[in-house]
């Protein structure tokens, strides 16, 4: 466990630093936009990876937490004139509370049934927001333009400030994943994933730790939702509660490497440019092509390397270690 970390630490810090410097190398706003989405999805993947990669519970409902964060920031400013940062904090807390509330019944289900329940949960939240007058239902919210400032969370045409906010949240997500992975909590989650009965016989209450993992994951996911709302300045339920969003998080992490800190970074670096490229070059007709290509890639990669790209890259050193 420790030796693996020592090998990984250097490259990981280097990769994170490179990601942080990339947007300064270009003045092309399209490229900067792609980089913003890239760090956002990498961060979403890290947060999702806590529940699914570590605890082994495949959630297809993470857009619910993302959307709650988005709406909290938007509503805070649009209805009450409060700083979106306050909305962000509140949204994160609400998402954590909702995660705890739904985890309690949903984690009684195992495996596929848990996944189906999270899928349904995401759809339910979408339906609620679609028909909720308080947030203007399906019409969505246009966030009023405010003078550009950090406090107002608006920078108008500038992409760089948005990038560094997303990057900061990505770092929060990355560090949280690493801290969890290397702690007693993380080992408990792995034990539950490996064998729930064995975990119980050794004194672990699986429901409790699965719930905790979901709460942590949801709180971080909501932060990105708030960021996204402020970045786009318009949200509607179909954007922020979409199954498409939940699926992207799942797919990029699985392709990159489930349960590995590298997984979401690699997956996002592949999927997001592909996704934005098809959107820009093909417009409306290109919708879904990115996911089709991605689905194909996942089928290919997981057929040969179930641990994703990370599994392909680490296959050799691991085999050497096993033989020693």
């Amino acid at each position: 466990m420790n030796s693996g970390w020592k090998i990984q630490r250097g490259p990981l810090i280097a990769a994170a630093a490179v990601m942080g410097l990339l947007p300064l190398l270009t003045s092309n706003v399209n490229l900067q936009h792609i980089l913003i989405l890239l760090v956002m999805y990498a961060g979403l993947g890290e947060a999702w990876n806590i529940v699914t990669g570590l605890a082994g519970q495949t959630s297809f409902g993470h857009s619910a937490f993302f959307g709650i964060g988005a709406y909290a920031a938007a509503v805070a400013y649009w209805k009450y004139g409060a700083s979106p940062w306050i909305g962000m904090a509140v949204g994160s807390l609400i998402a954590a509370a909702v995660a705890a509330a739904i985890s309690y019944p949903v984690f009684r289900l195992e495996g596929k049934y848990f996944s189906i329940a999270t899928l349904a949960f995401g759809e339910i939240v979408l339906q609620i927001f679609k028909s909720w007058d308080y947030v203007d239902g399906a019409t969505g919210i246009i966030i009023p333009v405010a003078p550009a400032s950090l406090l107002n969370f608006q920078f108008h045409g500038l992409k760089i400030p948005y990038f560094y906010i997303a990057y900061a949240i990505f770092l929060v997500s990355l560090v949280t994943f690493l801290a969890v992975e290397r702690s007693r909590f993380g080992l408990y989650l792995k034990a539950i994933k490996n064998n729930q009965d064995a975990a119980m016989s050794l004194g672990i209450n699986p429901a409790k730790y699965k719930l905790m993992s979901m709460v942590v994951s949801a709180a971080i996911t909501a932060l990105f939702g708030s960021f996204y709302a402020q970045y786009i300045l318009y949200i509607d339920p179909f954007m922020v509660f979409s199954l498409d969003l939940s699926l992207k998080i799942v797919l990029l992490t699985v392709l990159g490497g489930l349960g590995s800190v590298w997984g979401p970074i690699l997956g996002s670096a592949l999927l997001i440019p592909l996704s934005e490229y098809t959107r820009i070059s093909m417009g409306g007709t290109g919708k879904g092509i990115d996911l089709m290509v991605f689905g194909l890639l996942i089928m290919l990669v997981t057929s040969f390397r179930p641990k994703g790209i990370v599994g392909m890259l680490t296959a050799r050193p691991r085999a050497a270690k096993g033989g020693a």
Binding site: M1, L187, A191, N194, N195, A198, A199, S201, L202, G203
Partner: protein, 245 residues
């Protein structure tokens, strides 16, 4: 008088639909003993373990452990009280190393990582697994997996350890090692209940044997008496087994 038994089971009944897996089973286990729980396949031995450790909530009956009523308690609660089991079908955490497997057990009493690591190391030393610490669970042989189950359970610092067919499928040398390990654990003051089919292995090291058949307890006593018991010999041990040893 003697102190209260560590474990006392009264009229334990477990019903699955129309199947009566345990039927009013009662017995006591004194502190420091090795108790053999024997009987033919389907006698209800594993069900009994599952009821005691909390994987099943018994239909009726009472279980008292170390002064607590543990009837129907969840496994993670009984484990905290000091009662841990292993599994007949080994449940190795395959994607975790041996050390990590054992750490999970050690965390129960020592949430702090460095203390837990030290305790895990002690447990691995005690069972002779330290040289395998860095191996992944899934790469172990079946004998080592069974040993890992015991090591992991040992790391929770149990008062009572319930071993479910730890010796099944082992070769004679491995069986010998497993017997020695059981005696070593007894020497550390751990009480053991052992479900076992390998009579030659379990009878010599046990202080008491309890015989189940079709969910009912049909005999209880010193192993040397049990192996002479006509009913037990005929019904469960087979005609060929006798008390020569």
């Amino acid at each position: 008088m003697e102190q209260a038994p560590l474990l006392s089971v009264r009229d334990l009944t477990m019903r699955f639909g129309s199947l009566l897996a345990n039927d009013k089973v009662s017995f006591d286990v004194e502190k420091g003993q090795i108790v053999a729980l024997i009987g033919p396949n389907g006698a209800g031995k594993t069900t009994c373990f599952s009821c005691l450790s909390g994987f099943y909530a018994p239909t009726s009956g009472k279980v008292r452990f170390d002064g607590h009523d543990t009837t129907g308690m969840k496994p993670y609660h009984t484990c905290r009280l000091g009662m841990t089991r292993t599994f007949q079908v080994v449940k190795t955490m395959g994607d975790m190393t041996v050390e990590e497997n054992v750490l999970i057990g050690a965390f129960l009493r020592h949430p702090d990582m460095s203390t837990a690591k030290a305790r895990a190391k002690e447990a691995m030393e005690a069972t002779g697994m330290l040289h395998l610490a860095g191996k992944f669970g899934k790469s172990l042989t079946i004998a080592d997996r069974k040993r890992l189950e015991i090591t992991r359970a040992l790391a929770t610092e149990p008062k009572l350890l319930m071993l479910d067919e730890t010796m099944a499928g082992l070769n004679p040398t491995e069986t010998r090692e497993a017997m020695d390990l059981c005696l070593k654990l007894k020497g550390r003051g751990i009480t053991l209940i052992i479900v076992e089919h390998v009579m030659e292995a379990i009878m010599p090291i046990s202080d008491k044997a309890i015989v189940l058949d079709s969910g009912r307890k049909i005999a209880e006593g010193r192993p040397s008496d049990i192996v002479r018991d006509e009913v037990v010999i005929k019904a469960y041990l087979g005609e060929n087994y006798n008390a020569k040893s």
